[in-house]
Every structure is written in C-alpha cells, then in structure tokens.
C-alpha cells in the first residue's frame, strides 16, 4: 500500500454528475425549475444563491434526501434518480454537520464503512483523520470539539466513503470569519488531494469565488449564469448576477448603434461597449460597470483621460476611506448615485465631498444587460430598505 492519501489503491474512474430537467415543486412554488447542468468529474462546483433560491433543494435531490417532482440525476451514464439516499455513491457534509452525538469521532468517521459491512476500518479511519488533522481526537465525542474541528469530522465522515460526488451544504456557515477563511483553504487542499467532485452550496459569494472552479448563480429555482468565477464576475449576463455577485453601477439607456461596437445613449451621455458584452435583446438596455473599474479624476484633470474611454461627470457626495481602497459616491447630472472604488495607490490628495469629478473606464469593462427584470434584482432586500430610508 502506498501513502498517497485515501484514494490510494482505488483506480475507480470518477464520473460526471448530470442533472436533467430536475424540478421540485412545493405546493404552488417551483423551488427548482427544470435544472439541467453537467458538473465535470473532479471539479469544485459552487451553487451560489440567496436563501430560498432552490440551491439546498437541488443538493438534497442529488443526495436522495428529496424526491424530485420531475427530471433525473445521472452519475456518468447511470440514472440514480430512483435510488434511495443510502444506495447512492454520494455523501453530504450537512449544514450543522449532523455528527452523531452518541458516537465518538472515530465511530462517526467509520459509520459509512461499517454500514457497508467493512470489518477492518482502522487503517482507513486513521488515514482519514490524518487528512483532516484530527488523529489525536479520535476518541472524543463531537460535543467536545470546536466548530472548526466538527466541520473537519463531517468532511472526513463523508469522504472516507470515496463518494463519486461530495455535497457540501453551507459547510462553513456556522464558523466565524477567520476560521471560515482557514477552512476554505483547507477544503480546497482536501479536494485537490482526493480529486472527488465537490458540489458546494453557499450564499457567500466570496466563498464561492475563492473555492470553486465553476460557479452557478441560482435565482428562483433557475441558474442565472454559470462559468468560471472570474468570467461570471467580469461579465455578468443578467441584472441579478451583476447585483448579487459583487456590486455594479447600472444606468438605463437606449442602444443607438449595434454591431461590433455598441453605442448607448443614457441620459444624454454616450457609452461604448464591445458587442460581445451586450446581452440585452432589444434596444432598451442597462449599461453596467463594476465600481473598481472606474477611475475618479478631478474635473481639472479631465484632459488626462485617454481617448475611447467611457466617461461620466458628477459631484462627489461621500468619501469613505477603507484602508485598501477609498469608496466614492458620485451624483450624476440626472440624480443617480454611482459608486467607485479607488485603490489607495495614488500620491497626493484624494477628491473631497463636493468636488466636481469625472469618472472614466474602459469599454472592455462595460456590459449591457436586459432591463426587463428591474434594476434592483439581486440586491439584498435589507440593503434596499436601508437605501429607501436614507432617501426618505
């Protein structure tokens, strides 16, 4: 036997996980609506969405804990839709870990092996506990462990079974921020070591982006956008994604020229973007740009702006210094508040409240979206409430 980790000795082929038209209806609500995706074997896939978007229901249907109303779940070519949870080659790390309180850590980790009738579990459990660095705590009870340790036990208990797919249901939600960062790195390390497909459900966009190699943003039972985290962030295709994943400045306008380079008139200002970055089907569209892509310049320095940049004039209404960056709120001529982040790398004075400024950014950082769903789709409702309070 080699010591290449728990997979040593098994040359089993890992296969893709495929969901085909997966649907779950609760009462009159479609929690998951015709979901069809393929999750590549060995990938770290994140399902990102607000609570109630259907991501946990999706996960539970993959685990076999929830019966789909229609649709199928495949692993490779094998349809596992009709299999019950205990018959599926899939294991779950539950949200609150769900460790068995009556069993010690060793027996918790050994649970799956023992239920499959494996007699000699000592070596496998020992190896697994080593992987999650908990060997010294094997005989403790779960209640004697810290949150981070319990989380690692939950991962070990699932991974020891060498599942085709490991499902993680908000596994870091109960941990404090510092520990969460640490566990994110830890989970990535484990995933690259064992090579199992990880499907990770979370509402934390940063968590999804740092850990996953594919992110699917879910909204109202459907997947809004799926792709590499950087692609999804840099090129959101819907207003929901633009708002939910990070922040975006969205300005309503009208298309005045299509083709290779799209030109938009918004409140009398012209914006340009590559045609490939325009996702609005009609002439009405939303011009979007991420706050950190905008450069804030004092009006006096407007001459320094390279030609071809998108520009926007306004007045600074708020400056907040956050250490790494400075956040500017800028009021446009038509009364819209836009937000810009500047890295604190410039020498000299920053702009101050009341200063007339000009914002500029590259057309390559501009995107065009369909305004049909409204501009606030994807913004946390509590933030919206706060904003309307401030306006009142």
């Amino acid at each position: 036997m080699t010591n290449e980790g728990p997979r040593a000795g098994t040359s089993r082929r890992v296969e893709d996980l495929r969901l085909a038209g997966l649907t779950k209806v609760f009462g009159d609500q479609r929690a998951v609506d015709e979901l069809s995706i393929t999750i590549a074997a060995g990938s770290f896939f994140a399902l990102l969405g607000a609570s109630g978007c259907g991501k946990t229901t999706t996960l539970r249907m993959i685990a076999g804990l929830e019966e789909p109303t229609s649709g199928q779940v495949f692993i490779g070519d094998k349809d596992i839709t009709e299999l019950r949870a205990f018959q599926r080659p899939v294991n779950t790390v539950f949200q609150s870990y769900a460790l068995f309180p009556h069993l010690d850590i060793f027996e918790n980790v050994a649970f799956g092996l023992r239920r499959r009738g494996i007699k000699h579990v000592d070596a496998a459990v020992g190896q697994m506990l080593e992987l999650v660095e908990l060997s010294s705590l094997a005989r403790r009870k779960p209640s004697q462990l810290s949150g981070g340790q319990q989380q690692r036990v939950a991962v070990a208990r699932a991974l020891i079974n060498e599942p085709d797919v490991l499902l993680l249901d908000e596994p870091l939600g109960a941990l404090d921020l510092k520990l969460r960062r640490q566990m994110q790195i830890e989970l990535k390390r484990i995933q690259s070591e064992v090579g199992t497909t990880f499907v990770h459900v979370t509402h934390d966009q940063e968590e999804a982006m740092t850990m996953a190699d594919t992110v699917a943003v879910m909204h109202a039972g459907r997947i809004e956008q799926l792709g590499h985290p950087a692609d999804v962030y840099e090129t959101p295709r819907t207003v929901f994604v633009a708002n939910f994943l990070g922040q975006s400045n969205l300005i309503v306008g009208e298309k005045i020229q299509g083709g290779e380079s799209v030109e938009v008139n918004a409140h009398g200002v012209r914006f340009t973007m590559p045609g490939s970055r325009n996702f609005a089907p009609g002439s009405q569209l939303v011009v979007g740009v991420r706050p950190e892509k905008m450069i804030v310049l004092d009006l006096a320095d407007a001459g320094r702006i390279p030609s071809g940049q998108n520009t926007l004039h306004g007045t600074v209404t708020d400056v907040s210094y956050t250490g790494v960056s400075t956040q500017y709120l800028v009021l446009t001529a038509w009364g819209q508040q836009v937000i810009a982040f500047e890295q604190n790398s410039i020498v000299g004075d920053r702009c101050a409240v009341g200063d007339p400024v000009v914002l500029h950014w590259s057309p390559q950082h501009t995107f065009g979206l369909d305004p049909a769903g409204g501009l606030s789709s994807g913004i946390d409702p509590s933030v919206l409430a706060l904003e309307s309070d401030a306006e009142a």
Binding site: F86, R115, N161
Partner: protein, 298 residues
C-alpha cells in the same frame, strides 16, 4: 400503599455568583427542603425505626422500640415468592409497555403532523379517570363471560380458560395503567432528535432499519431509560392491579405490605418489606442506569 422512591433531586445551585444572590437561592430552597424533610425524610426514618421494632413482652400484638434485624430475614424468608413475582410482573409489564409505547411515540414524534397535539392529549386522557376506576373497568373487559375471554377461548388460546384472576390479567393491568409514563418520556426523547441525524445516517449507507438501530434507538436511550424506570418502579410496588385483577396466587409484594399493615397490624414486618423493596429497586435502578450508559447522552 405504593412505596415512595426518592426521585426528586435538588436543582444545581450556582454558588459562584455574588454572595447576596446565592443566599437568596438558599432562601428559595427552604420550602422545598422543608417539604422533603417533613413528608419524606421524617416518615422514612419512622418507617425504618418501625422495621426494627420488637413485639412487646407484656402486651402481645403491640410493638416497642428495638433493634431487631431478624425482622428483615423473617419477612424475606416468608414473602420471597411475592417479592420475586413483583419484579417479574413489573418487568413483563415494562417490556410490554415499551413494545407498545415505542412505535406510538415514534409515530407521534415523526409522523403525526397536525395530529400530534391531539394524540398526546389522548395519551394522557385516561388519567382524567381515577386509577381505581380504570382498573375496575379491566375487570369487566376481562370478565369470564366478556368478549375478550370468550373470543380467545373459542380460538383455544387460553390454557386456563380464563384471563381474570390470573397473572396475565395483572400484567395487562399494570401495562395499561403505566403506559402513559412510558410514552411521554419516549416521545420527549424522540422529538428531540435532530432529523438531520437520521438523514445523515441514510446518507452514510444505512438502510432505514440500520438507521433505526444505529441512530434513532441509541439517541432515544434517555427516553427509554426514563420510561422504563417510571413504569417499572411504580409497577413493582403496585397492589391494586393484583388485588382487583389477580387471584390469591398472583399477589405481589404491595399486597403483602398492605395486608401486614392494615389487617395483621404487623408493622415491623410491613415496614421491613417496604424498606427491602425500596433498597432492591434502588440497587436495580443504579445498575440499570450505569449499564445503559446514558450519563453522557443527556
């Protein structure tokens, strides 16, 4: 008279707090401690002293102070069959009650949905009628010319041809009367089980049966222990069921204690039996709790 078993334990007191609050905690404890002293400790002591009394030499039939340990030996030598029978009947009733109560409590805790409250009320409902009355009702139900007996007889299932005035009736009565005390702690224990643990079990390759034996059953152990104790202890000391539903051959230790107290007026023997019963139950209970290993589950 059913024996009193000290189940009341004093709530833990936080002595680490400031002095004034800890003093007020002790003041709050006074009524409870006084109650315990007057109605439990003093009678217990009196009972113990009575169990050691000897017969007066001048006035036969009355008893005077003494330290006569032979009272215990004599009482046990004479009444050991009833002692043994009490534990056998109480044990059988406890096992039967567990077998009936567990599925019911499981159903109420996990499957009853909107019917839960109603079912719990129904479990407790018989307690609104008196214990004695309910046991009398069983006399009618199990009567020789009743439906139950004649049905079973026509199927040739009864060796003696009757149920009433047999041990079967006594065990049935005990089971019935103490069933709620089994159901309620079981329900409380099952209801507290995090459903995600059951899901975790099935996620980890345990079939429904394995999930039950490996997860649900051990996690409901506190309820099983509490329920069996709450059934076994009063059942072992009960005399009403044996009195009303059994024959002279089915007498339990409770009946013996009662007759010795009320009819024979042999107070030392009755007291010695009460004390011996209490001691036996305490030993059994401690052994049981230790073996079931529920200390670290609660």
């Amino acid at each position: 008279m059913a024996p009193i078993v000290p189940v009341a334990s004093v709530a833990p007191v936080h002595v680490s707090g400031p002095k004034r609050s800890s003093r007020s905690v002790y003041i709050l404890l006074i009524p409870g401690l006084a109650w315990l002293a007057v109605f439990f400790l003093i009678p217990l002591f009196t009972l113990f002293m009575t169990s050691l009394q000897k017969e007066s030499a001048s006035k036969p039939g009355t008893y005077v102070f003494g330290i006569q340990l032979s009272n215990y030996a004599n009482a046990l030598a004479e009444y050991w069959p009833q002692f043994l029978r009490s534990f056998v009947y109480a044990g059988l009733a406890t096992i039967l009650a567990l077998a009936i109560a567990y599925p019911l409590a499981y159903f109420i805790a996990f499957k009853a949905g909107n019917w839960r409250s109603l079912m719990l009320v129904l479990v407790v409902a018989p307690a609104f009628a008196s214990f004695l009355l309910r046991t009398y009702a069983w006399k009618t139900i199990l009567a020789d010319d009743g439906v139950v007996t004649s049905t079973l007889n026509s199927l040739h299932l009864l060796p003696d041809g009757r149920i009433l005035n047999t041990g079967i009736a006594v065990v049935a009565g005990l089971t019935y009367n103490f069933l709620p005390f089994m159901i309620l702690p079981l329900f409380a224990s099952l209801d507290r089980i995090d459903y995600r643990l059951i899901e975790a079990g099935s996620d980890l390759y345990a079939s429904p049966a394995k999930v039950f034996w490996r997860v649900t059953w051990p996690l409901s152990m506190p309820g099983i222990v509490a329920g069996t104790l709450l059934t076994f202890i009063p059942a072992a000391g009960d005399f009403i069921n044996a009195e009303l539903l059994g024959s002279a051959k089915d007498r339990m230790i409770g009946n013996v204690i009662q007759t010795n107290f009320i009819e024979f007026r042999d107070y030392p023997t009755a007291s010695a039996l009460s004390f011996a019963l209490m001691a036996a139950i305490l030993i059994l209970v401690f052994g049981y709790i230790r073996r079931s290993g529920t200390e670290d589950l609660v």
